[in-house]
């Protein structure tokens, strides 16, 4: 019976979590992914598998902010990921072994699970001066990324740095830093931009992959559409104030206290896509605009250079002002993204091929398209 044999259902039962609650949790995953509800049972089955897929998490020119963000995931929790859903065999910041034992663990995964494991990458990869700006166990980040990410089943770049080089790559890019897909040409990468990545999205992507053995539908930057397909401005809880022309004029003024729109304080929401306002952060507690500061478009491509200065009101484009409708602004900013999205959804664009696991766990087919 689905939901009975795997480590997670057992562990949940031992903690007094009912089957009903477990199913509810599977439903939440399906909702985050914007999948039809008929996929709940497939997700449930995935979480009940007895042999767990292997994951390795590599850190290069990073701040460990994406690791920290992952520790804040609640559906599933990081403990459930690590103990019951996956075999999380390498992750410098949190693994038990060090040095030689750690390196052997990584090497064993590449050798024994070739073509089957998931590689998550955090941080940029320096390419200047033969990569001497980041070495681990005497090897450069580039050597390690090439070795690990060309032998994996799937690669996930978490955070801005692993996606496009992020802050490390910002002008003048002292170390020649780039993101994973540029550093290792030819590898398939799913990019989860953001500074940091939102662990709710990462959990959903992992769930999707574990369930269907494929990545969800992606946009032209290889970002999942369910997370990066919509404009922040269109999902923003301060949007009604924008439409009514009510703005924060100075920090701490009456408008700020009443939760008015932050556009004049430099908010980049009108030209940034992300599901930040709906998924939010830290168990759905809040997100930056709700907490009173403008969006910095941290999930946008090369945002450090392209979206700063962060306190400058968005550049005035013809017709762009408080009297213009937000839909027009949105179209200007996201025309390319929207066009790509339509093409990809219509064409059932899914990048990764089905890869059966060694365990031969049964694979459920993914939806024909990602209808919500």
């Amino acid at each position: 019976m689905a939901g009975s044999g795997g480590l997670l259902p057992r562990a949940l039962r031992a903690r007094g979590v009912s089957r009903r609650e477990f199913v509810k949790f599977c439903e939440l995953m399906v909702a985050t992914l914007a999948l039809p509800t008929r996929y709940v049972s497939a997700v449930e089955k995935t979480f009940s598998q007895t042999i767990r897929p292997v994951l390795v998490w590599l850190e290069f020119q990073d701040c460990a902010g994406n690791t920290e963000s992952m520790l804040r995931t609640s559906n599933p929790t990081v403990a459930e990921f690590v103990l019951e859903l996956l075999s999380w065999e390498y992750h410098e910041t949190i693994m038990a072994g060090a040095g030689k034992q750690a390196e052997e663990a990584l090497e064993r995964v590449v050798r024994e699970h070739k073509g089957e494991y998931i590689a998550v990458v955090e941080g940029a990869i320096p390419t200047a001066d033969d990569g001497v700006y980041c070495t681990i166990a005497g090897k450069t980040a580039l050597q390690i990324a090439t070795h690990v990410c060309t032998n994996s089943a799937a690669n996930i770049a978490v955070g801005a740095c692993a996606w496009d080089g992020g802050l490390v790559r910002a002008n003048p890019n002292p170390t020649g830093a780039v993101g994973l897909q540029e550093a290792v040409p030819g590898v398939q990468v799913v990019n989860l931009g953001g500074c940091p990545h939102n662990p709710a999205n990462t959990a959903a992507v992992l769930t999707h992959y574990l369930t269907f053995h494929q990545m969800p539908a992606l946009d032209q930057y290889n970002r999942p559409l369910f997370a990066y397909g919509n404009l922040i401005h269109d999902q923003c809880e301060r949007r009604a104030h924008y439409d009514a022309g009510r703005f924060v004029e100075e920090w701490g003024d009456e408008g700020h206290r009443k939760g008015y729109c932050l556009y004049k304080m430099g908010c980049k929401g009108p030209e940034a896509t992300y599901n930040c306002p709906t998924v939010r952060w830290n168990d759905g507690t809040s997100w930056p605009v709700k907490a009173g500061h403008g969006c910095i478009a941290c999930a946008s491509h090369r945002f450090w250079d392209t979206k700063s200065p962060f306190y400058k009101r968005l550049p005035s484009v013809p017709g762009f002002g408080v009297d213009v409708t937000a839909d027009e602004i949105g179209w200007v900013a996201t025309g390319a993204v929207a066009a790509a999205m339509v093409a990809q959804v219509a064409g059932n664009f899914v990048r990764d091929q089905i890869r059966p696991t060694k365990a031969g766990n049964e694979v459920t087919k993914p939806p024909e398209s990602h209808e919500a």
């Binding site: 460990a64 902010g65 103990l83 065999e89 980041c134 681990i136 009443k258 952060w281 830290n282 500061h293």
Partner: protein, 569 residues
């Protein structure tokens, strides 16, 4: 005699490599190397100083916000801005939350596995574990059934033969001393700490939108609008109640789980009160202003220096006495690498001269790290919770003195026992206890201000860059979880001309200087026993006691604005 290499040193932030010479079962000499460089200060040049904090915060995602705070402090110092009292309180609340969360996470997730053998927990009797837990604390999660559930979870993991993060551990190592029941209790608390850190940090989400990398600081104050009657205000009565409730849950976890666990573990590892002392000099810039930031006398954690383990005297801190060496670092100074330079007169010309990767060993008699070697009056300094606690203790800070004396009495140890690996562990725990308690009082003060209609959160007098002088420069100090942090900014024509961060882990993890003096990590490792050179668990135990944060540590800038020259081979 054997050379051992630990690279990567895991369960830390960043990329650290330790090489050590082992003789007669003990470390004779050790070398600490930071193996990653980004150059964030260089990236900051030419940008708006009001947003420097957004960039600088990304120096570290573990001690997120500490660089944001040091950065706004520096810019406010440069522009002569005093922040409203509410902003000071919100900053203290955010910083104390950070430190409490970070310390708990460090002890359980990053450090505990040096003393806790997870596999041994399978042999524990859950009933006896329950007795043990109830004998040291009244924490409610302590039934035999509860521990049996935890044991079953570990047992299922081991039976699956996929040990996940725990597969490469040192289980069964002779340096593990806890009985199975204590190991099982610690595993349970490891998992509880994972839940605690996630729930407690929601304070940051309320005030900063998210954690890590909060988005709420402003030069001149905070973006947390306050209003007693507006549901749209970041700080309103309902949210204050929530913050207070979460903060109180931290007091419970720290007092009933973290502190009893540290005392229990210390009882089984008493020999580590004799090991890992290090350089014996301790420095704190001080932090958590309870009035103007201009006056360190009102700081909750005082400023000062302890020299040569002499607790009878606290020396003043003068930033003019800070210098940095690059004798053993992958940089060049124009006047030669034997001379130290004050950071403000320093230069940064990265020039990698180490072995070509992939390599087996570093050339430790030459240059071997991306970290510089900071010195105070030519002396290496240890920074961090132990340094802060010792400075506060010797300064006669009453809260600290009472707590330290009571703890030492419980452990039947003299104050000198604090100069050790275990001393660092204990100091971190005690600081957590002090800050968790202080956190609630700061939230209460903020709540009282809100109730009384005092809602001023930002000083906007200098927000417009046109109000700034043509040139300005300033310092921002803060005591981050891992120690003394300083940011320095020079502004010209409304943009950053120069930026520099002098960071805690650089003090602790830096290499030797021109005189061959070891850095604190290097000194602390000397005489550490190594039972099995192939599995150097004891080395990790001492290194982790410093709570390394290497992304923070590699920070450099040419303060005089010389062009950055990439090493051309």
């Amino acid at each position: 005699m054997a050379r051992i290499v630990v690279d990567p040193v895991t369960r830390i932030e960043g990329h650290l490599r330790i090489e050590a010479q082992v003789e007669g079962g003990k470390i004779a000499e050790a070398w600490s190397s930071g193996t990653m460089f980004r150059g964030i200060e260089l990236i900051l040049r030419g940008r708006d100083p009001r947003e420097a904090w957004i960039w600088a915060q990304r120096i570290c995602g573990v001690c997120t916000m500490v660089h944001a705070l040091a950065s706004v402090n520096a810019v406010e110092d440069a522009l002569g801005i005093e922040v409203p009292d509410n902003a000071r309180l919100v900053r203290n609340i955010i910083a104390a939350t950070q430190t409490v969360q970070d310390h708990v996470l460090h002890f359980y997730l990053l450090h505990a596995l040096d003393c806790v053998d997870i596999v041994s927990a399978l042999k524990a009797d859950p009933a006896k574990t329950s007795q043990l837990a109830q004998s040291i604390s009244d924490w409610p999660l302590s039934s035999a059934k509860y521990f049996k559930g935890i044991q079953d979870r570990v047992s299922a993991l081991v039976a699956s033969k996929q040990l996940s993060l725990f597969g490469a551990g040192y289980w069964g190592h002779p340096a593990y001393h806890l009985p199975p029941e204590a190991n099982l209790m610690a595993v349970a608390h490891y998992l509880e700490a994972l839940t605690f850190q996630r729930e407690f940090i929601r304070i940051h989400a309320v005030l900063g939108g998210k954690n890590p990398h909060l988005q709420t600081f402003l030069v001149g104050g905070m973006a947390t609008a306050m209003d007693p009657n507006e549901p749209g205000a970041t700080i309103n009565p309902e949210r204050m109640d929530f913050l207070l409730q979460v903060a109180k849950s931290a007091i419970a976890f720290v007092n009933q789980v973290y502190i009893p666990d540290v005392l229990a573990v210390a009882g089984f590892y008493r020999d580590w009160f004799e090991l890992g002392a290090g350089v014996g000099n301790y420095m704190s810039y001080g932090g958590y202003p309870q009035g103007s930031i201009k006056d360190p006398a009102n700081f909750f954690l005082p400023r000062g220096i302890i020299l040569n383990r002499d607790l009878s005297k606290v020396h003043p801190v003068d930033p003019a006495n800070v210098t940095e060496y690059v004798t053993h670092s992958w940089y060049e100074y124009s006047g030669g690498d034997q001379v130290a330079k004050h950071p403000y007169e320093g230069e940064t010309n990265p020039k990698y001269s180490g072995p070509k990767p992939p390599y087996e060993f570093l050339e430790v008699d030459q240059k071997y790290s991306w970290l510089k070697a900071p010195r105070y009056q030519d002396q290496p300094m240890e920074v961090g919770p132990l340094a802060r606690l010792l400075v506060a203790y010797s300064s006669g800070q009453q809260d600290v003195k009472a707590l330290v004396d009571a703890t030492l009495a419980k452990l039947k140890a003299p104050p000198a026992a604090l100069f050790s690996t275990l001393g660092r562990v204990a100091a971190r725990a005690l600081e957590t206890q002090l800050l968790a308690s202080r956190l609630t009082s700061w939230i209460e003060q903020l709540r009282d201000n809100l109730a009384s209609g005092n809602v001023r959160i930002h000083n906007g007098e200098k927000w417009d860059p046109n109000s700034w002088p043509k040139t300005a420069q300033g310092f921002g100090f803060f005591e981050a979880p891992r120690g003394s942090l300083g940011h320095w900014v020079e502004i010209e024509d409304q943009v950053i001309k120069n930026y520099q961060a002098v960071v805690p882990s650089t003090w602790n993890a830096g290499p030797r200087d021109a005189r061959g003096q070891q850095g604190p990590y290097e000194a602390a490792l000397v005489k550490t026993p190594i039972a099995e050179p192939e599995r150097p668990l004891e080395l990790l135990r001492t290194i982790h006691s410093f709570d390394p944060c290497l992304a923070c540590a590699v920070h450099v800038v040419d303060a005089r604005g010389r062009l950055y020259a990439r090493a051309e081979a």
